[in-house]
Amino acid sequence: MKQPVKILFVLFLFLLTPINTKASEISVTNPWIREAPPNTQMLAAYMEIINNSKHTIQLESAASADFEMVMIHRTETHEGMSHMAKQSGLQIKSGENVILEPGGYHLMLMNPKRNLQAGDKIKLQLQFDNREAIAVTAVVRKK
C-alpha cells in the first residue's frame, strides 16, 4: 500500500471507531428463556450482560410485549431455603459483566400472553440508566 493511501485508510478507520464504540458499550450474550410447562405463569430469562463503557451502568428495568410484567430478581439460597429477592436495579462496573443464570440473577417474566415453546424467539427491552433501551432476542429452550 502506498503511503498516502495508508494514511487515508487509517483516517477512515478512525472515522469508524466512534460509531463502533457507541454500539458496543453494553453487549448481551446468550439470552435465553427456560421452556416451562403449559400454563405456567412465571418464567425466567437468563443472559450475560457486559459493560464495555468507561462508567458504571445500571440495568433499571426490563419489559416484553409477550409478558404482563418483567422484574429483576435474584434467587438467594441459604441452608437450603430459597428466597426470591427483588432487585431495584443491577449495577455493572466498567469493564465488568454480570451473569443472569438459574439459581442466581434472572429476569422474572410474569403472566405470559401466549404459550411459549422451545425454539420461540422472544423480544426483551432492557432499560439502562441514561440510555435508551437495548433490544435483545431471547431463545426459548429446555436448558
Binding site: 427456560r34 416451562a36 430478581h73 441452608e79 437450603g80 431455603m81 430459597s82 428466597h83 427483588k86
Partner: protein, 225 residues
C-alpha cells in the same frame, strides 16, 4: 441338691458367650458399608427423621399418605408452580436423572418422585399434574389442605413462608394471602426417603442430576431396598 456344675465352667461359658457376641457384632459392624457421601450440600440424618402421619392427595385425586411411601424409595422436592427459577431448575435436573433410571441398563429400581406444593391456594391438582407431567409423566404432584401440608413440612423439620411483592413476610400459611403475585420462600433441597418411609438425607441446591444420582446410589447401598 441337683446337679452341681463347677464354678469355673460357668465362668468359662459366660466369657465364651461374651466373646462370641463381641466377634459377631464386630463382623456385623465391619460388613455394613459406612455412610460417607462426599457430595457438597448433602446432609445425612442419623437417626433418620420419622415422617409424621399425613393425608394428602396426588394430581389424580388419589389419597397420598404414609402408606404410599412404603416399599419404594422416594425422592421429594417442596415447591410451587409459580416459582420462576429454583423449582423449574431442580425439576429439569430431576427429569434428566429419571431418564437414566428409565433405561433398561439401570441397575437400581427407579425411586418415585414427588413434588409437594406448598401453595395450595394457587396450585390446583390439575395444574400441578400438568406441571409435573411436563417433566416426567410418572412424577407425582402432591397437594392437600393448608393444615396437612404445613404439618408435614414442619414435621420434617423444614420450613416455608409467604412473601408479598414488596418482600414482606406473611407468616400465616394457612390462609390465602390477600394480594396476587405473592412468592413462597421455601426449603428447596431434595429429600431422600427410604422404602420404610423415613427421611434419611437431604441435598441442597444447586441441584445437579449426577450428584443426586451419586447420593441416591450411596444411600441405596447403605439402607437397601
Amino acid at each position: 441338691m441337683g446337679i452341681s456344675v463347677p464354678k469355673m465352667w460357668i465362668r468359662a461359658g459366660f466369657f465364651g458367650m461374651v466373646g462370641l457376641l463381641v466377634v459377631a457384632s464386630a463382623i456385623f459392624v465391619l460388613k455394613k458399608p459406612t455412610l460417607n457421601i462426599d457430595v457438597p450440600g448433602t446432609r445425612c440424618l442419623l437417626p433418620p427423621v420419622t415422617i409424621p402421619p399425613f393425608i394428602l392427595a396426588d394430581q389424580r385425586g388419589q389419597i397420598f399418605n404414609n402408606d404410599r411411601l412404603m416399599g419404594n424409595w422416594t425422592l421429594a422436592v417442596i415447591g410451587y408452580t409459580y416459582c420462576p427459577d429454583v423449582c423449574p431448575t431442580t425439576l429439569h435436573e430431576m427429569s434428566v436423572l429419571f431418564k437414566q433410571f428409565d433405561r433398561p441398563s439401570s441397575k437400581i429400581k427407579a425411586p418415585r418422585f414427588m413434588f409437594l406444593s406448598v401453595d395450595p391456594f394457587r396450585d390446583t391438582p390439575e395444574e400441578l399434574g400438568e406441571y409435573v407431567g411436563y417433566f416426567n409423566k410418572d412424577f407425582l404432584g402432591i397437594t392437600g389442605t393448608p393444615e396437612e401440608i404445613h404439618n408435614l413440612v414442619t414435621g420434617l423439620q423444614l420450613f416455608y413462608i409467604y412473601e408479598d411483592p414488596q418482600g414482606i413476610f406473611i407468616r400465616d400459611v394457612l390462609h390465602k394471602p390477600s394480594m396476587d403475585n405473592y412468592a413462597v420462600t421455601h426449603y428447596s433441597g431434595v429429600l431422600f426417603i427410604t422404602p420404610r418411609g423415613e427421611l434419611v438425607a437431604t441435598l441442597t441446591p444447586p441441584i445437579n442430576a449426577d450428584e443426586v444420582l451419586k447420593v441416591f446410589q450411596k444411600l441405596h447401598a447403605y439402607y437397601g431396598d
